[in-house]
């Protein structure tokens, strides 16, 4: 990996190159994220999808420097053409929040229960911008209204426990947005919410990307959410990207056998099936990732080469895929 910014037609809001996260343990070094590269353009929503243990959350954490030791991060992270993975602790701390916002699964743990939501927003705004208390309050109110908190002025001095789950997630989104970051990392933002609330949050994320040009990295296990909101999608398996491409392509014409199996195993309301297609077995544990293609023990199409050598991620017009059995192009 060279240290020059990746050559791109339009400089992406976020570029990740060869990102790996390794965990030294007593039983050897485990690779949780393995050579992951992708770009997100301004105003684009990139979905990262995978099952538990695929390394998707750790990828998000590593980008914003939150992969705590003993985890070691390798590779490059470029934000608006500037490399941020080499920054020291204080510098990355300034980037985080100001330039990259984060939204996590459980909105309750992201909010301080002892401060009113108004105070939390005002504090965030005044940390990042020079504002008078009155201006900060006015802006905080505007943000709350923007994310759809009804009666924002009335609820400004209420505490997190006085809000429902969906409302709390809106507040977390307002907090992430308040510093006007160019990139937001959303890790399972709708998983803890009911479907009707999920639909509202999805619509909100979509509007943010569209109207404010925020680049969003959306990490989720839910293909339905990806289908509803993402522009492009990256599929991860056992720490590696196995397929990526435009959402419509990956969902309607998956090329990697894992993606195809995943799509076929999702029940749909559009058709009635007596039996779901299933992928036998489960994702391997980190200390037992098979040699060759990590998916080959579960793959009905695997041959000797799949068991022996790891397939590289090959890019073509239709996207990227890492599979020996898929012909490029």
């Amino acid at each position: 990996m060279s240290a020059t910014p990746p050559a791109r037609p339009a400089s992406p809001a976020l570029a990740v190159r060869g990102l790996s996260v390794v965990l030294p343990t007593r039983r050897g070094v485990l690779t949780a994220v393995d050579d992951v590269s992708f770009d997100i353009a301004t105003g684009e929503i990139l979905g990262v999808v995978g099952e538990s243990g695929a390394g998707k959350s750790l990828t998000g954490a590593a980008i914003i420097g939150l992969a705590e030791p003993p985890a070691r991060v390798q590779g490059e992270v470029w934000l608006d053409g500037r490399r941020i993975d080499t920054l020291d602790k204080a510098a990355i701390h300034r980037v985080r929040g100001r330039e990259i916002g984060a939204i996590f699964q459980d909105p309750l743990t992201a909010l301080d229960p002892l401060f009113s939501i108004g105070d939390q927003l005002v504090e965030t705004l005044r940390t990042h911008f020079r504002l008078t208390p009155a201006d900060a309050r006015a802006q905080a109110l505007a943000w709350l209204e923007d994310v759809g908190i009804a009666g924002a002025a009335r609820r400004f001095d209420q505490f997190p426990h006085q809000f429902s789950g969906g409302m709390r997630q809106r507040i977390v989104i307002a907090l992430a947005l308040a510093a006007e970051p160019s990139v937001i990392i959303a890790d399972e933002p709708t998983t803890a919410l009911d479907v009707s609330i999920q639909a509202q949050i999805i619509a909100l994320l979509k509007r943010l990307a569209r109207e404010r040009g925020v680049a969003i990295l959306l990490i989720t296990h839910d293909m339905g959410v990806i289908a509803a909101v993402a522009d492009r999608v990256v599929v991860m398996y056992a720490g590696r990207i196995v397929e990526s491409g435009a959402v419509a392509d990956v969902i309607h014409r998956p090329r990697h056998p894992y993606t195809a199996g995943l799509m076929a195993s999702i029940p749909s309301i559009a058709e009635a099936r007596t039996r779901l297609a299933q992928i036998d077995g489960a994702m391997p544990r980190l200390d037992a990732i098979p040699v060759g293609c990590a998916f080959h023990p579960r793959c009905s199409d695997a041959d000797a080469q799949c068991a022996a050598r790891r397939p590289p991620l090959v890019a073509s017009a239709a996207g990227e895929v890492a599979c020996w059995r898929v012909s490029p192009g």
């Binding site: 569209r210 339905g224 289908a227 522009d231 890019a315």
Partner: protein, 410 residues
Amino acid sequence: MSGGMDVLLEVRDLAKTFDVSAPWLDRLWTRAAPSLLRAVDGVSFSLRRGETLALVGESGCGKSTLARMIVGLAPPTRGSVMFDGVVLHGEGAITDREARRRARASMQMIFQDPHASLNPRWRVVDIVGEPIRAAEPGLARAALHLRVRALLEQVGLAAADLRKFPHQFSGGQRQRISIARALSTRPAFIVCDEPTSALDVSVQAQVLNLMGELQQRLRLSYLFISHNLAVVHHIADRVSVMYLGRIVESADTPALFAAARHPYSQMLLDAIPDLRAAGMDAARAGAGGHGAPASNGAANAATGVAADVSGNVSADVSGNVSADVSGNAIAAAGEVPDPLAPPPGCGFHPRCAYANARCRRETPRLTRLEGNHDVACHAVEEQRIAARTNLPPIARLASISRQGASGIPL
């Protein structure tokens, strides 16, 4: 009692009220009224042998409380439960302990979290064998092992897994152990409380397939509790939609998914992100692979079109509901109200586009429309809501593209 010979479970007017008041001395001091939470408020249904009834609804709608009352984990405040001809609760409940015990053994439950529902200190043989030992205290250890082995094989685990502990299994395998345990007393009826929501999709498919096979082979009846409508569509014969402790709509699965009548059911259906919708919104010209996301301008143009399209959906499908440009057909607006202070009249009226004065005053009763289709809604009864045909999402999109949102490949 109504229903033919085939009815296995009959629930009548079942209700559960939790007293969540402050201690009575405090109340005396502050003169606060006791506060009661009506978790389940008068639910009736029946379940036939070999049938799957799904209960759907959002958090706090009372679906788990209902299930717990049926299997006897929570005493009902009112109403009756009749199982296999035996009245377990309510008027004429049997007092014979032995008959009660037999009926109970025929009802089992599978829980959501297979990490929490298996004792980590017990071996699989003890976990799966415990209900057998409880039912047949005199059974020899060798015979017990034989039975457990057969149960494990039935759910797709190896007989050698007998000696292992729960932590040695993956989430999906653990849920298989739960299923084996539930099957150990040869039940006729199993309550499945979100059995796959803690599992990954590829594993969920394995467990759903297994449950389908077992139902066929053993003629089991399932009460399947879920918030995932796609899973419900796949597995259920009938669906009951719950809101604030009441059933608001109940229908055969195809009827509900094709023509839901209650505005809440319609809202839930419209809130499901469907995979086939992918690409209409993200159809960005030239957004090829990793190397070439669309330029910003093009991207904005494409999403602009998408916004128009969803606007059309709203107007098209939902008739006179106020269209919400930001998203779904019937915009999933508002939230479930505080169950401690439910709105008067129909519980759904604050979120409902069709609500009028009567809805705000009078609680609608579940009434039969046609066939097996029951709805509790004044607007449907007064025909203020025209019957809407829910096109499957793909057809819905096709009809939109015909309306001239050009440039959206399907």
